[in-house]
Subunit: 193 residues, 2 copies
């Protein structure tokens, strides 16, 4: 497997520009709830040909994943920052709330995302990792400080949060989601019984 990268040339500037254009347009569309928008339409709005879209993103799922990944990376990056500013348990809570805020900010990538899950589930395996490591650190710190139980698996919390994004509809869902965060925190503490 000689998998070496040989960048004989620098990547072309127009290519980069078109790529980010496509991502922005797609993100805007998905955010606006137009999850079933034809790909031709996305290409048109971005001012490129359909062929260009398909070169950058070989199929619909790849495009969705790319949009999704970009946002998740930003969310993941917030974790170490919060860890530096708050005591462990509060950092964890804050991050989970941030997760909720992301969904509230109409960055509802979840629905689009879930369409993929039906296929292989590989998307989660890939994209999940950045969130995974983000929350891993937060939980590890809280365990180390003796605040929450060592039995807690970070992925459990992630699953719960993911669920929120699906039910993210109807009035009052946001307060409900934040209550859930508190329940999760309370349930994760070292047993006081």
């Amino acid at each position: 497997m000689t998998d070496e990268k040989k960048p004989r040339r620098r990547p072309r500037s127009d290519g980069q520009r078109n790529r980010t254009n496509l991502l922005n347009v797609a993100k805007a569309a998905f955010t606006a709830g137009e999850t079933d928008i034809p790909l031709d339409e996305i290409a048109r709005r971005a001012g490129v040909g359909i062929g260009t879209l398909y070169r950058h993103f070989p199929n619909r799922d790849a495009l969705i994943e790319a949009v999704y990944r970009a946002e998740l990376d930003r969310l993941a990056d917030a974790a170490p920052l919060l860890a530096a500013q708050h005591p462990p348990v509060e950092a964890l809570r804050a991050w989970m709330r941030l997760f909720v805020d992301y969904i509230a900010a109409k960055l509802v990538i979840a629905p689009a995302l879930n369409g993929l899950a039906g296929g292989t589930g590989t998307l989660y395996a890939q994209s999940g990792t950045v969130l995974q490591s983000a929350i891993d650190g937060l939980v590890a710190a809280a365990v180390a400080s003796g605040d929450i139980s060592a039995d807690i698996e970070p992925v459990d919390l992630l699953r719960a949060l993911a669920g929120v994004s699906n039910y993210a509809a109807g009035p009052g869902w946001e307060t409900s989601a934040k209550r859930l965060v508190d329940i999760l925190i309370a349930g994760s503490r070292v047993s006081t019984s």
Copy 2:
């Protein structure tokens, strides 16, 4: 709104039979992970014409919802049964575990289901109610017995469980899901701090 039903005749037997046939075939296909199966194929496997499928279910989403609803009803029906057999908190825990089991039994209707959420979200509003009332009863009993906090909104727990179904992939997901149930129960108890 004269919304009266005038069943001038009894429903035709072949109609009923074809309808259940379609539901069974669709359920089998979705369960097997073929969420993207063409509707023509479903009709073929059920031994009916495509037109028949579309009369019973006006579009793909309607078919998915019908499959989904049938399973959810069964899950909801289990709630009062469990309530009669266990103390309140344990009944709640048992029901939530049953929820997990349903997903484990490859009744993964969730992925298909989530595809719809992107649209209007009305599906959740409709189908969610049967689960809602099921868990409402369980929680109310647990609150009444003084075991869990009155602040708990049942829907919060439902959201979390729904999340599990999305992340239902990879080895060990099931134990993770059951751990989550325990966390939720622990977090819902009357605060001991």
